[in-house]
Amino acid sequence: MHAPDEQAPAKQAADKQAPDEQAFRAEVRDWLSANLSGEFAPLVGSGGPGREHEFIEQRMAWERRLGADGWIGIGWPVSAGGRGLPWSHQVIFYEEYARAGAPARVGHMGEQLLGPTLLMFGTAEQRGRFLPGILAGTQLWCQGYSEPGAGSDLAAVATRARLDGGEWHVDGQKVWTSLAQFADWCFVLARTEPAAQRHRGLSYLLVPMRQPGIEVRPIVQLTGTAEFNEVFFDDARAAAGDVVGVPGDGWRVAMGTLAVERGVSTFGQQLGFQREFDAVLVTARSTGALEDPDIAARIAEAWVGLQVMRYTALAALDRPAADVPGAEVSINKLIWGTWHQRLGELAVDVAGAAATVVGAGYDLDNAQRLFLYTKADTIYGGSAEIQRNVIAERLLGLPREAR
């Protein structure tokens, strides 16, 4: 086995890097090794899909440490409190972060979704009030988009908000809300014009989570753990000014963020995939499963798939930004979702009958968790079918069907 370093994107990317990129990589690496120690040492490898419940308090403290040293919002403009670094540096940060096994972020909703949204659509007052907390890692956000009746069909949002007495009054239910139990704020897509249809009449509201009108209930998934929540709004309140963009224009605001996402974080994710693959390989070798030609072929194909995934993501970054925004993210999502799901199947096939026994309290091992949790990879964040619609319509220009 090569050491992970030898196969990792960072190493290959590093070969032809400009001096400033090499210096930045060293800076990130040094900071991570200095800080992922002491109280934070147990966090290495913690969190992430299927394990969001782990070490949550310590991970929130870690978030504040990141913020204090300027590692949140590194791609944001300097004028907004960021470091204004190009995507190539952001890729390096994600790679090094993943390589160090630093814990899964709990502040990514604020950093990657709300922050960029405020930068595009927010008022100076909103930026001044919210961005510093996100950058400091002290203010956690969750995303209130999906509803029981609005999954793939997000425009069917039924949560209502009305302006009354200088406040928004919010009623309804959101679902699949990650980290809602820890979040301070939620960005909520709500219907503010009851008569308007579909994409019209929605508003993008900023709602404080800690108030009597909000109840968070965990959803226990098929893994037996609970990362996601239902969030119930019963006359919850938001300040009249805490609407991003024009009231009624929330759909455009919500979609605007997605359009600029270039999938930079995917490179860190791929190092995580490499680590999972390595673990499956180690098991296959130690149990002798690798002697089985079918398993050996699937291992080789998984490795090929991981390389192809990396090249595809790199090629997307090399394309001009104006080229079909959004389609790259959908292509990457389909590739990694499908790949990861197959790895989950391979992991339990490699373990064999041993994978049929779980620990006390339904405690799963990594192979079992991978197998079960990856079933969500082609559902959340836009199902595989929605991604195919996006690719067909935006990249290939095929006509929309009647909806």
């Binding site: 086995m1 090569h2 196969q7 290959q12 990317a13 070969d15 032809k16 390595d278 390989l281 180690v282 070798r285 002798g288 690798l290 002697e291 050996a296 072929a297 291992i299 080789a300 194909e301 490795w303 090929v304 390389q307 192809v308 995934m309 090249y311 595809t312 790199l314 090629a315 997307a316 090399d318 394309r319 292509i331 389909l334 590739i335 079918e385 991604q387 195919r388 619609n389 690719i391 067909a392 319509e393 990249l395 290939l396 220009g397 095929l398 006509p399 929309r400 069907e401 009647a402």
Partner: protein, 349 residues
Amino acid sequence: MEFADTPEQALLRDTVRAFAARHGTPEQVRATMTGPTGCDHHTWERLARELGLTALAVPERYGGAGAGPAEVAIAVEELGRVLLPSPYLSTAVVALALSDQADPAFAERYLPGLADGSLIGALALDADVVSAGGTISGVARHVVDGGLAGLLLVRAGDQLMAVSAADTAIEQLNTLDQTRRQALVRFDQTPALLAGPAAPVIAMQRVLLAAECAAAARHCLEVTVEYLKTRRQFGRPIGSFQALKHRAADLAVAVESAHATARAAVWTAATDPAGLATLAPLAALHCSRTFVQVAAEMIQLHGGIGFTWEHETHLYLKRAKSTQLLLGPVSGLRTEIAGQADLLPGRRG
């Protein structure tokens, strides 16, 4: 790793694409593929002399343009998109091989001809020969462009031997893919010169075939998407039906991934050839498989018209499948990759 063309490369691509559009029309391709040699000599002359595509693979001191694998790949991609029947890929691989590893006397003998197109090269990799006293005897099967070549590089163990085609017995074969002919070549104490190790040449051929597959697959997707937009059933374009849109989207994902993988391989060929030990079989595996997938789906998504001799679909399917089969069994490529990436049993990490 660079995935996009430089401005100079983009210019070259435009030039070759315009050439391919003028000299590789469907009518011309069909006329050539059923012609006596499988290659239109006027088109070859223009390609070599006017465009200087054959010179791309040869250093300037031997009459070439001193470009390299990246530029050759662009020509291969653009000619491959229209399936222009020509021995370009074979000749370019031979030229790149001799530019890299031959001794000067060798280079002076062959490279000027390969640069100006007067000498056509071909690789005989599926060869069963014995060498003795500066000669080889035996047979080589499936020699792509063997009927056109003047110079053959014949695999003998892990080495390549240079042989003049005039000293061999060549039997033209009727090929499934009529746009790319093959020959059976027999050697009987045929004079042969050692031309260097086979592995880097095989790697280069795989990289260029991967690039060709990715480009041709993209063409198939484009034609198919156009058809889905224009063909109407039930009063609407069939491309509005999700059952077909999703199949097209899956092809787009496959095409983008093949394109990226081929570009990564081409970049590696140009900058770090040692890196091809893993990447050449990987790109060949992934891009040929994608081309087969897209060409096969192209037929299905065209419906009945896609099953006709008249439509171009079958030419692409035949090129795709033939390329994949000539690369050897998928399990062989996979095992090679697994060996390079240390994924085989019985070894320690």
